[in-house]
Amino acid sequence: MNVLTDNFSTFAEGFLGTVELTVYASVLALVLGFLMASFRVAPVASLRALGTAWVTVLRNTPLTLLFFAVLLGLPRFGLVLPFQVFAVLALGCYTSAFICEALRAGINTVPREQGEAARSLGMTFRQTLSLVVLPQAFRSVIPPIGSTLIALAKNSAIAGAFSVTELLGTYKTLSELGYNIVWTFVWIAVGYLIITLAISAVFNVLEKRWGVAR
């Protein structure tokens, strides 16, 4: 029990590290995922191919391999950045593939008659997209995006094993100090539960407000 009270600052640092990593990587994943999803439904074949390649490769890449390649590989490439930035890059790119697929599935849930109706009213492409299709797509993708971001938060643990400051990594410091390892892990588990529950709470609110009644 006193593992937590004695080392509150270590835990807090790790916890904040995980939160930071999750937030930055989520933003990157959402932006890249949106970009790739728009590529995948674009009328231009080469962009569609790029989107498909991005999704297929990243969804089938083990995240550890991606971390390995980005954190240890890119520096050999002549690109030297702080580990934290590399971790955000790896996590964000990886998750963007799943976000992209969620968004694309969301766009596909909008019946095509909706678009046809919008066009027959004389709406331009931009109006069709922003006033008719996207609002409906957005509502149906809230739950899958929520669970993808929860998975991202859980996956951020891998960054800790690659010596980025985050929650799981705190166990090393504390076991060196001779604290009870089981309790250390209990508090780490509690930390992750807080983060995943918070994300799920946010998305439950979003879903209640905007979600589709099925």
Binding site: R40, V41, A42, P43, V44, A45, S46, L47, L50, T52, R59, N60, T61, T64, L65, F68, A69, L72, G73, R76, F77, T95, F98, A105, I107, N108, T109, V110, P111, R112, G115, F125, T128, V132, V133, S140, P143, P144, G146, S147, T148, I150, A151, K154, N155, S156, A157, I158, G160, A161, F162, L168, Y171, V182, F185, I188, Y192, T196, S200, N204
Partner: protein
């Protein structure tokens, strides 16, 4: 989920008016699209060219860096690593399926305490990062790397599979269950003779795509010094004699890893397509159990590999 969401991208070309987004383009629009196509192709090629230039510029294709792959010892090291990866995967797959079966049975039990305990176990292990479990077993319980990795993967994937199994059994048409009970079958008989056989067929794609997750996660073994594929790669990559061939190692290892996972994902898609065509399972549709837990899933095909 509508039928269009299930169709693969090949059957759903965006430019041919089958999404809500576009009309069939006219001649002027087609010309414009062709122009966009040329410009974006040029940009993509430029990007690839730039990456290639960087690779050459930093000397990634020098003979010294590729030399290690010529040696038999190193090839054997890589093969042994790959073998260990597949071993961990096979063990994790078998145990996860078994644990998933047990937990699903528990969740479908008529006894409330059993149901509660199974639910608690499933929810807890789905909410924890797999790596935390693996580290806990490895560091705190002082288990060897392979059993620790397999145990961690089993707990996580077993819990997810339990949800897949449960939703599969629940999605079998109610009438089937009622008819079986009406014939005087006991609950065990109803389960094993009527519900499970029908559920398994429908669940198969979801099960296989969960196995893709397990296969991807075997690489976590690298972090607890299990001598798997990535570990073998790291050994070669950090060898000074070959001028630290890091990028070449990544270029050799990644296609193999990604290829294995893609093969399994492709198989899952194949199976789900067969299932969809089969009239026997048409009525049953299994929603994928979400990895994130705590949230209802929607808009995802059961064959999609999960994060």
């Amino acid at each position: 989920m509508t039928a269009t969401a299930h169709r693969s991208p090949a059957h759903r070309p965006a430019a041919h008016g089958s999404t809500a987004l576009y009309d069939v383009p006219g001649p002027r629009t087609r010309r414009r699209h062709r122009m966009y196509g040329v410009v974006s192709t040029a940009l993509i090629l430029a990007l690839i060219g730039w990456i290639l230039y960087l690779l050459f510029d930093t000397g990634q294709f020098t003979y010294t860096k590729w030399m290690p792959f010529e040696y038999k010892g190193i090839q054997e090291l890589l093969l042994r690593g790959l073998g260990n990866t597949l071993k961990a995967f096979a063990l994790a797959a078998v145990f996860s399926l078994a644990l998933g079966g047990v937990l699903a049975t528990g969740r479908l039990s008529d006894h409330r305490p059993v149901r509660w305990i199974s639910t608690l176990v499933v929810e807890f292990f789905r909410a924890m990062p797999v790596l935390v479990m693996i580290f806990f077993i490895f560091v705190a319980l002082k288990v060897q790397p392979l059993p620790a990795l397999v145990a961690g993967l089993t707990l996580y994937n077993g819990s997810v599979l339990a949800e897949v199994f449960r939703s599969g059994v629940d999605s079998v048409d109610r009438g089937q269950r009622e008819a079986a009970f009406a014939l005087g079958m006991r609950k065990t008989q109803v389960m094993s003779h009527v519900l499970v056989p029908q559920a398994v067929r429908a669940m198969l794609p979801a099960i296989i795509s969960q196995l893709v997750v397990a296969l991807k996660d075997t690489s976590l073994g690298y972090l607890i010094t299990y001598e798997e594929f990535l570990h073998a790669g790291k050994l070669i990559a950090s060898n000074l004699d070959y001028d630290l061939p890091f990028i070449p190692v990544v270029m050799v290892i990644s296609p193999i890893y990604i290829g294995m996972c893609m093969l399994l994902s492709w198989f899952a898609q194949r199976v789900s397509r067969w299932e969809r065509r089969s009239p026997k399972t048409e009525a049953v549709k299994v929603a994928p159990a979400e990895p994130g837990t705590l949230l209802p899933g929607g808009g995802r095909s059961p064959t999609a590999p999960r994060p």
